[in-house]
Amino acid sequence: MTQPGFFDLLSFGPDGWAKALMAGAWMTILIALSGYTIGAIIGTFGAWAKISGGKTLHVAADAYTTVLRGIPDLLVIYLLYFGGSAAITSIGRLFGADGFISFPGFLAGALAVGITSGAQHTEVFRGAFKAVHRGEIEAAIACGMSRSLRFRRIIAPLTLRHALPGLGNVWQVVLKESALVSITGVVELLRQSQIGAGSTGLPFDFYLIAGLIYLAISTVSSIAMRQAERHFSRGVRRG
């Protein structure tokens, strides 16, 4: 058997892995997007707790960000994947099912990525809120805007504008972190490359391709982020 060349692997032909790798890349993007969304929701609550929550909420949010930024992400994935499986198995036993039920890897992965990025989102949103001028909020109050209107029209858009560069960084981290989800067996980009490497005996080619695809995704998203930053800072005078 002759080994396929580097570009044969990238083709859609019989030796080609292009279709499988594209499906893997799509799964990577899905995991990253779900994790990022979960993180953004947690981050919004976390920032709110730190800014205007009571003492208990503040301490809880502080503890959350300190712990999640101090422990490896891999541990969080293990906790959710194995812990979730153990929990589901014992729930299954209550309903008469016997044997082991495994927690869905996608869900465990997205949750783990979300929980770890939530700590970063919290800090990004908190910093961005602090950068909003007091005067703008005072002006909104003076205009007689209600609380919700003030949040919707003034605070949220301004905070988001300041948060955008930080949000872009968090997205890059999340994208790379999604590779760790491969240990749960979800066939995302890295797992697909492992499968390819195993069945062709060409690990270098496959991991190189995986690396290039990650690089492409992160480059495209950083260009998109730069566009978004430009779009949302229209009307800001510089210099």
């Binding site: 300190t66 541990l75 812990g83 499986s85 790379k176 760790l180 060409l202 190189l208």
Partner: protein, 241 residues
Amino acid sequence: MDWEFTQETFVSLVSALPLTLSLAATAIALGAILALALALARTSGILVLDWFARAYVFVFRGTPLLVQIFLIYYGLSQFPAVRHSIFWPVLRDAYWCAVMALSLNTAAYASEIIRGGLLSVPHGQVEAARACGMPRLMVFRRIVLPLAIRQALPGYGNEMISMIKATSLASIITIMEVTGVAARIISETYRAIEVFVVAGFIYLAINFLLTRLVQLVEFKLSPHLRQPENAAQMAIAGDAR
């Protein structure tokens, strides 16, 4: 939570701690040297070096560390030339592959931090040193580098914490450091929560100590920002009089 099980877990995880620390320390030390070289290449003004450093940082920051580890550990063995070379005993070893991947990775991030430090050195300081007749190397050694290190230290501390966390990925290529042992205990007992709490506590403790250490070094390196001790004593003496 089962107290006895927690204690047993703690003992087995702590016995894996030296491996985690040696991975992190070796990677940080090797990475720092490489990072300094990259930062100097980036600020040298020599086009080829500048572009090489840019490309290096772009590639290593744009791809997941796990892919880099796999590429070195599994990928390189694909080539017979590597398997027959004198480097094979090193490249076959999971520990050295992990150290290599971690060092190459941290160098990319750290070089940007050091570059920021180098750029922050005020031009007047360099000019003053030149005016005193210091040769280029001495200016770098006595003026630029100390000022840059002081400026880069807080950012560098964060990068070191990231490295401590990143050593956990070595467990995926069979290295039994803290996370590796934790994963083994979890998959044997399915008691994820207890093991997670103990392992998390160990990592938090290391990172807490590391943060304090960096703060201490920062304090030592910036005596000019504090009131001098004898001046403070003189002020007190003056009050007494």
